[in-house]
Point group: C2
Chain length 434, copies 2
């Protein structure tokens, strides 16, 4: 086998064998297949695709480029959730404790925000002291004890993906269904799961603008899960409007705590319970979605879910007083309000514009090396369907630097549209793929 | 402008502007666009192509990545010939002196052999002392004095092509019409020509197996020439059978000298005169192909063409005694003969197999770093149309090492086919593209 021969085959729409793909990824990880060869291969895959067998092999080769976790000492079924990313998407933070309180073990490895989408790790770090880098031993001990870990991916998992992702970022080969799905699935499969629930978003604030593209990505990832004997279900969910009412970091933790205490906005409750119910059923801890929803509700109403969250925060070095009294969480001092100019119904509250505005305030990263300001963010006060009058509050922006507010206001311009009639009501969850 | 944006555009079948292409090639030459970015771009170009304007701009950007020659002090029209490469293709060696003897200045920069095709420089170096690396001053002085230079490309010409060609070789992006044609044409246009004649070969021993592919390549290169105001004509010529009767290095010089002295095999004469006549007409030194052929014949018959060759050899440090007495040229001592097993007519004498066999003997390079043995090679004694009996001589192989002969015989096995009737006669020149 040599790299040029494999590149030529894929260039000419041929098929690579499992052994050839394993050789390619292993040698790329070691560096004997060069970056420029892998760049040519990535472009050939981008343009000519991978079939189902190639994709399962590619994902498996990535997965086995590093350590693969195996929490054999944890008896509970191990299930995780992955979201393709959105604006105001803090679902992991309430979902983890609620589902763990029902008996599922969740070895959740999350990422950081980039561009207009936020990251779970950044949000959690709003809690003073919270550590998202854990040693393998700390990770395993916490999973056994609380049933939930909320951490970053450790460096020894899927090194091929880190290397390939950086290369794709520099070579125009990011938005490829096979490359995205193998990247996501290799990282999740390395967690040693029994099952996985995927939240595949579509709409202005999502990576995939249309439901058709989201469906293709979801179907592809579910297929990879099946090929690796990990039961996988995907929900296709709308991301035209931010999820919940808070976009930022500390403010998203506050909203997550509301959910854990039985409150919070409807769309966020809907999505958290929809994903959680799938996890419980896949874990074998509920016979139906209805039964699962009931058990999730009990975990919240009994206070057990919030209790799990407190224990996780304490375990990971966070100051639990900030969770018990969320008003202590950081909040930037300056406030700017955006108000409606006309009467009617909000028809659009654009996730992408609002996500970019939050990033400009300092809640997200334009570049990987940017730092996050946990206290800035956007609180939405009018979302699609809400009636407004001239002067009604649409959103409050917490900011620290006037120059950044200026940039945020430029980005958010046109995010709201107001019409004479309410838009059709819609469910956050549009479809299910299994 | 940034590289990723340009890669994404080409990936998505968009069009790059002339300025963008100039930026890309200049920054790749300098190294600020990386090898892996150019590899992704090369694969995108391979799969999605370049339109005519993009291709002219790409070629121009390559051309201007280094020095561009300008022989303003040479009054004669400057015309060169380029061949896409074949087996036994020594045409440049007699063609250059014959056409120069008619008043054309030919700043010919040739290449070395790789794989089954030979290289003009390697053949010339069979003449003891012959130097193919000349300084720019030597090159210009010789062109002014003899009207012909037979040298390698100087390092300061088209550095982008050297870098890009090495990258394409390692990334499976060599056989792309736009990348091949811009590579060839940028190097030829850097010679500061008034006109150019292309010999685009097709068949088993050529880079392009079919006439359709050769026609596409020829049309593309003629278009690039026109876009750069260099009159360009291409002949599509057959390369199923080696050209002439000698395949090697010193033996090809001997056959070239035969042509210069009015002898030599018919197919080699036909092609040399066909290309030379196009050069004379493009140079404005003959009003028609017929007139041009007449002048070429006079240059040979008068001895002027051979005289030019002697002066070029002397100028470039070669020992002219080896040209005056070609028997002095190196010849390996051991001889192996291949003979016909049956009676009939030769229907096939396969260029590719014979080219590979010559390479195995040591007349060519399997890898760039291999060295050439000038005295080994193959002399063909039966070509398509020739009648043979059992035991008739098909070819003589001159070799130095029995192990290499073994390899050559394995490669040449099946090169001849003998049938009951002669194959249809064909002309070497199949089509003309202008």
């Amino acid at each position: 086998v040599n790299a040029v021969e494999l590149i030529e085959r894929k260039r000419d729409r041929g098929t690579l064998s499992g052994d050839e793909i394993a050789w390619l990824i292993a040698n790329y990880t070691e560096g004997t297949v060069t970056d420029y060869q892998m760049a040519a291969m990535a472009m050939a895959v981008f343009l000519n695709g991978l079939d189902d067998e190639e994709l399962a092999a590619w994902t498996g080769a990535m997965l086995h480029s590093g350590a693969v976790l195996n929490f054999a000492s944890v008896d509970a079924p191990k299930v995780d959730k992955h979201s393709t990313g959105g604006v105001g998407d803090k679902v992991s933070i309430p979902l983890g404790p609620i589902v763990a309180a029902c008996g599922v073990a969740i070895p959740m490895m999350s990422g950081r925000g980039l561009g207009h989408t936020g990251g779970t790790l950044d949000k959690l770090e709003s809690i003073p002291g919270f550590r998202t880098r854990l040693t393998p031993d700390e990770f395993a001990a916490e999973l056994a004890e609380t049933g939930l870990v909320l951490a970053g991916q450790s460096d020894d998992l899927v090194p091929a993906d880190r290397k390939l992702y950086a290369l794709r970022d520099a070579t125009g080969t990011v938005p490829s269904i096979p490359l995205i799905s193998s990247s996501i699935m290799s990282k999740k499969l390395a967690e040693g799961l029994n099952a996985l629930v995927l939240d595949v978003k579509f709409g202005s604030g999502a990576f995939m603008p249309t439901i058709e593209q989201a469906r293709t990505l979801a179907t592809t990832m579910v297929g990879i899960g099946a090929a690796h004997s990990v039961k996988t279900v995907a929900l296709l969910t709308r991301m035209d409007t931010p999820l919940g009412r808070e976009v930022g970091n500390a403010n998203e933790i506050r909203e997550s705590i509301e959910i854990l205490q039985g409150g919070g906005p409807d769309d966020l409750i809907e999505l958290t319970y929809a994903l959680g119910a799938e996890m419980l059923v896949l874990a074998g801890l509920a016979g139906s979605i209805e039964e699962a929803r009931k058990r999730l509700g009990e975990a919240v109403n009994s206070g057990r879910a919030f209790e799990v969250f407190l224990r996780v925060v304490a375990h990971q070095g966070g100051d639990v007083r900030y969770v018990q009294q969320p008003d202590l969480l950081p909040e930037a001092p300056a406030l700017h309000e955006i108000r409606a100019g006309s009467a009617g119904y909000v028809t659009v509250c654009d996730a992408r514009r609002i996500g970019i505005a939050a990033m400009r305030l300092g809640a997200g990263r334009e570049r990987k090396e940017d730092t996050i300001d946990p206290g800035v963010g956007i609180s939405l006060r009018a979302k699609p369907g809400d009636a407004v009058e001239p002067g009604s509050l649409l959103a409050s922006l917490r900011y620290r630097h006037p120059a950044r507010l200026e940039e945020a206001l430029r980005a958010i311009d046109g995010a709201w549209e107001i019409g004479p009639t309410p838009p059709p009501a819609f469910a956050v969850v549009a479809e299910r793929v299994d």
